[in-house]
């Protein structure tokens, strides 16, 4: 049923050679190919007179139609979540296929308490409070008794730097620099990532693209693309490695609301700060692999741990 629905959306022909040249990663996916028949040719012909921006299907020779993706550690009771595989080649949203996503990573329950714990941790662990006030011992003077103990008519005082005196030392002042570093448990951190990804997916703010390659390094193109697709005011583009394509790097250089990030830098704070999250397919693969490894790691995960 799903297949037939997709065929109605993609009136184009698919070849295996094209799939392989598109991306080496796509070889892992189950791809359904159909022969190029007369109906498809007619559909393409009828689109010739239409202006390019309004054509739903691009004028490319063929598109891989991804209907399934291998998922490790599948959930016994839950179907995989599904998302469109998109492309940044054109302004219009062009669907290259449908990818399955792990339900334990992109379909967890929205634990806002876990998100809150992660956000607090990300704000606090890097904070250093430099506030410092001198105590009575660190202030100059104050060693001499300011006046005799008795017969002055005034209260008994031993030092002009007493905290009771104006210009005296602080009794319990801040003693900086103070570190607020702490570590959130690994399980809470990984669950935070899973919940943030699930929330983005549930709110339709998660987009999966085949790569971050765009045809132009002009910022106008990527801004128009984001406007056309209603991706909101800010977006985070995530790739699997930290060497980003040239065009998108130059295009986003002067746009602070659109940012690039490798998978190893992905965090809850950035995901919630940006309105839209754009993941490449390679990034999804890497992310799922890492998070699943965390979820299914044995308790004793250190090889040859020294025992006392």
């Amino acid at each position: 049923m799903l297949g037939s629905r997709l065929h109605s959306i993609f009136p184009v022909c698919y070849t295996y050679a094209r799939i392989q040249e598109l991306h080496p990663l796509l070889k892992r996916f189950i791809v359904r190919s159909t022969s190029c028949n007369q109906d498809n040719l007619l559909t393409e012909k009828s689109l010739v007179g239409v202006p390019e921006s309004s054509i739903y299907v691009a004028q490319r020779p063929s598109i891989p139609l991804i209907t399934k993706r291998e998922i490790e550690f599948p959930n016994r009771y839950r179907e995989p979540k599904q998302a469109w595989l998109e492309s940044l080649d054109t302004l219009q949203d062009e669907k290259l296929g449908l990818v399955d996503l792990h339900p334990d990573i992109f379909g967890t329950y929205p634990r806002i308490d876990i998100l809150h714990a992660n956000i607090l941790w990300q704000r606090w662990y890097k904070k250093i409070d430099y506030a410092f006030v001198r105590s009575r011992a660190e202030m100059p003077g104050g060693g001499r008794k300011p006046r005799p103990q008795k017969k002055t008519g005034l209260k008994r005082q031993g030092s002009i730097r007493s905290p009771l005196w104006r210009g005296g030392g602080a009794a319990f002042g801040p003693r900086g620099p103070q570190s607020f570093y702490y570590m959130l448990p690994m399980s809470i951190r990984t669950l935070g990532l899973r919940v943030a990804l699930s929330v983005k997916y549930a709110q339709n703010d998660l987009h999966i693209v085949n790569s971050l390659d765009i045809p132009s390094d002009d910022p106008k193109f990527i801004e128009d693309l984001i406007d056309t697709r209603f991706w909101g005011f800010s977006a985070l583009f995530v790739d699997d490695i930290d060497i980003m394509p040239r065009n998108i790097s130059l295009a986003l250089k002067e746009l602070p609301q659109f940012n690039l990030m490798p998978v190893y830098g992905l965090n809850v704070y950035s995901m919630l700060k940006h309105e839209t999250l754009v993941l490449t397919l390679a990034a999804v693969e890497k992310l799922e692999k890492k998070l699943l490894a965390q979820m299914h790691k044995p308790e004793n995960d250190v090889a040859y741990k020294k025992r006392h």
């Binding site: 009771y77 329950y109 490894a293």
Partner: protein, 182 residues
Amino acid sequence: MAASMISVVCRCGRNILRSQIKGKKYCDERAWHGSAVLRATDESTHREEEYVDIEFSTDEFKYVEKLLPSKTVPEPPKHTLYPTPSGWVPPAANLSTPYAVNRTKNHNLPVYLQVKVGGTRKLTLIRKIDGDIWALEADIRNFLEPITGKKCLTQVHEVARFIRVRGNYVTEVGKFLIDKGF
């Protein structure tokens, strides 16, 4: 007399040890000098003798991999008879309930005992619940009340997806979940 004999023996032993150490040191020094002389005289022929032929092979690494701990918890092996001697039962293939209880990563049921207030308050915790959590709560209540003969007090957490039952009913709840096929 005996004491002096022992001291003599000890002294002898010490001397022998000392001489051995000295001798070794002396030998080492000689060997070092000797090699230096050799190197100076006939360097090329001596070098070739030092090197031994090595063969690289990665086939034997599978035996090393057996010793390394696995990165993830492996799948449980297929047994001929269930429950296994330890009492473990695999989850059933098909389910007809509107809810599901996922196994932990160690393939066990996520049912735990929580002891609070110095051991006077005992709670049975059921985690990792999918689907209709209220239906599961009703089923657990209907299962436990005839067994215990008491009113079953439960707490349902819809966000964190767990159910707590007042009292220690870990074995009973575990049996109930296994009967349901989880």
